[in-house]
């Protein structure tokens, strides 16, 4: 009798264990700079992603299993990125990865996912080359996707806004000496070239430079009527402040980093009016966006999102990956990658509604028509041209290329 009871108990344990196995969570890596100079992007991205995962799990998860985001801080350092990537693949056994705010880290880390045939969605880093490292036919398949506006798109938009929309004729480019700044500066010069405009001067500075007087004076003497930038928050603030000190007021238009809190807070009144491409602006222009912003504010107890673009893209990337896993009916990397390249269901995100966002040859979910221009006003980024998101234009979906 006693042995029968224990056998039954043992059997019960087995059944329970089996069920637990069946309902084991789906592990997805979440990598970004959660500390460091670009942490405002990384942390916003992480918080957006966590919000999406919580919503999906509340609604029953994917394939009847819960999503589990395994967070790792890459500290915006290439070598740390590589280290946490190997840990995520070999120790945690993630089936997919989301993240990266720094092009260098993304380039160094995605190689390992490519080799392990695990799909990655880069949701913040913008370097044009990130999704183009492993193109077929040299590689069997490309496992790197992106739902952020890459630098080609951004530089094109900046040139379009400055030259065509606002009619400036003598742009000066100020870019930092990093890869981000110099590659962006090249993209920007090329974009201006297609409009027959040559920058009156191109100036350079280092990370940590405290005085931009020389750069600003050179741009002024060259007769610039608009300043185009490719740099990050603190140095951008120095540019705006140096212009303010010189009493020289020309518009500042640049890459999306002009929305960084360190620029907005560091430049104060001098930074008012700076414009930059944004895939998402903290404004409830659709019910879906409104709900996302309110839920984000409530969950994290904040008013101003540190980096709304990163938060929204982080949020959307989870929905995209979840949709692919659901379609693949599997967590097998090859099947999920194939599903991403041919997503049947429309994925309703907060940046846009993703209708076949990726294909075998195109791994960029964001096309040039999706981002809009934001402008710094009263310490926040608001819509520069409200007509851009009016009525049926509120949701801009991907076009041709």
């Amino acid at each position: 009798m006693k042995s029968w009871a224990s056998a039954a108990a043992l059997a019960a344990v087995f059944v329970w264990a089996n069920q637990a196995c069946a309902a084991e969570s789906i592990k997805i890596g979440l990598t970004g700079p959660f500390t460091g100079g670009s942490s405002s992007m990384g942390v916003s991205m992480r918080d957006g992603a966590k919000l999406a995962a919580a919503e999906i799990n509340k609604a029953g998860g994917v394939l009847g299993r819960q999503l589990e985001l395994v967070e790792r801080d890459d500290e915006a350092k290439n070598e740390v990125g590589v280290q946490v990537t190997q840990e995520l693949i070999n120790k945690e056994g993630v089936v997919a990865n989301l993240g990266y705010a720094n092009t260098g880290v993304a380039l160094a880390s995605t190689r390992f996912y490519q080799e392990a045939e695990i799909p990655v969605i880069d949701n913040v880093a913008t370097g044009s080359i990130v999704t183009r490292q492993f193109l077929p036919p040299e590689h069997k398949a490309n496992y790197v996707f992106r739902n952020a506006a890459n630098d080609k798109i951004q530089s094109g938009m900046i040139a379009e806004e400055a030259i065509k929309r606002q009619g400036f004729k003598k742009p000066a480019i100020l870019a930092d000496a990093t890869n981000y700044g110099q590659l962006g500066q090249k993209d920007l010069t090329a974009a201006l070239g297609t409009m027959g405009v040559k920058p009156v001067t191109i100036e350079k500075f280092n990370i940590g430079d405290t005085d931009m007087t020389a750069q600003v004076l050179r741009a002024k003497e060259a007769g610039a009527d608009v300043i185009l930038t490719y740099a990050i928050g603190p140095e951008l603030a120095q540019i705006a402040n140096a212009m303010g000190r010189q009493g020289w007021k020309v518009p500042l238009i640049g890459s999306w980093t002009l929305s960084m809190a360190s620029f907005i807070d560091g430049s104060g009144a001098n930074g008012e009016g700076a414009m930059m491409p944004q895939t998402f602006i903290q404004a409830g222009t659709t019910p879906r966006r409104k709900a996302f912003i309110e839920s984000f504010q409530k969950t994290y107890n904040i008013d101003r999102m540190a980096s709304p673009v990163s938060a929204a893209q982080g949020y959307d990337s989870v929905y995209l990956m979840a949709a692919a896993i659901a379609q693949a009916k599997s967590t097998d990397g090859r099947k999920v990658r194939a599903a991403l390249e041919n997503l049947e269901a429309k994925v309703e995100g907060v940046v846009t509604t993703y209708d076949k966002p990726f294909s075998a040859t195109d791994h960029e979910a964001i096309s040039a028509n999706i981002p809009v221009f934001g402008v710094v006003k009263g310490g926040r980024v608001v819509l520069a041209h409200p007509e851009d998101l009016e009525g049926d234009k509120a949701i801009r979906t991907k076009t041709g290329s």
Partner: protein
Amino acid sequence: MNILAQLIVSGIVVGMIYGVIAFGYQLTFSTSKTLNFGQGEALTLGALVGLSLVWFLTARGLGIGLAYIVMLPLVLMFGLAQGAVVERLGVRQAIKNKSEAGWIMATIALGIIFRNIAENLWGRDALKFPSPLPEIAIVVGPVRIQPMEVVIVLGALAMMLAVEAFNRKSIFGKAVVATASDRDAAGLMGINTGLVITFSYALSSMAAAFAGVLIAPITLAGATMGGVLGLKAFAVAIIGGLSSGLGVVVGGLILGITETFTGYYISTGYKDVPGLVLLLLVLALKPTGLFGKAVIKKV
């Protein structure tokens, strides 16, 4: 002409920042022939501690101007303490063992530790340091300058003059000078040379912390703000001469003005090059620095 004047003024402001940090190198070198390679981090910590104090005081209803003035002596005291810690932990043992390189490693290591502490306590984003003065430029003839920049130049000069006067007039200062010229003899005269060296480190970090709160309102405060400045100041100390207080001021001005001139007249991409060329020239032609006194080392 207008541009020239503006460049000189901007160069002077940058140069004074370099100079006041380099002054810290000079202080410790004159007493112990050692340097604190964590000088940049001492500046960072000073600025961040100052920022927290300003936050604390303004939250208690103090105006920003008053908060800044109340914060200053506290930050100076913090700098003194921080410098003393560096000397006790990193330098004392090395001097005792007559180690040639121990203090280099130790002060670099301490600098890294301090930077990590700053990153953990204040995060790694650059933070806005509220300016105690209006941020609108004043116009003097062809030159536009922010009030805070005037304060940087005057404050740095005042601080260096005060330390120099202290070293020349007070009995403690005489002990410093005595230790600087001959440590063993000073020891025989009953001067506690160990304490003098500790004190010189304290003063050196105080100078850096002071520089930190001076420049933070026009730059931003953050864990990495001191790194580049510490290196530039090191170049200044070499150019000006590590044994001369006047030398580092002039060295700072030379480097600052060279940078803005090169940036404007040649290319902003090569802004840092002439300063480094100058550094090499000085090392080749006058290794003790432009104002340095040659010391004959008796072996």
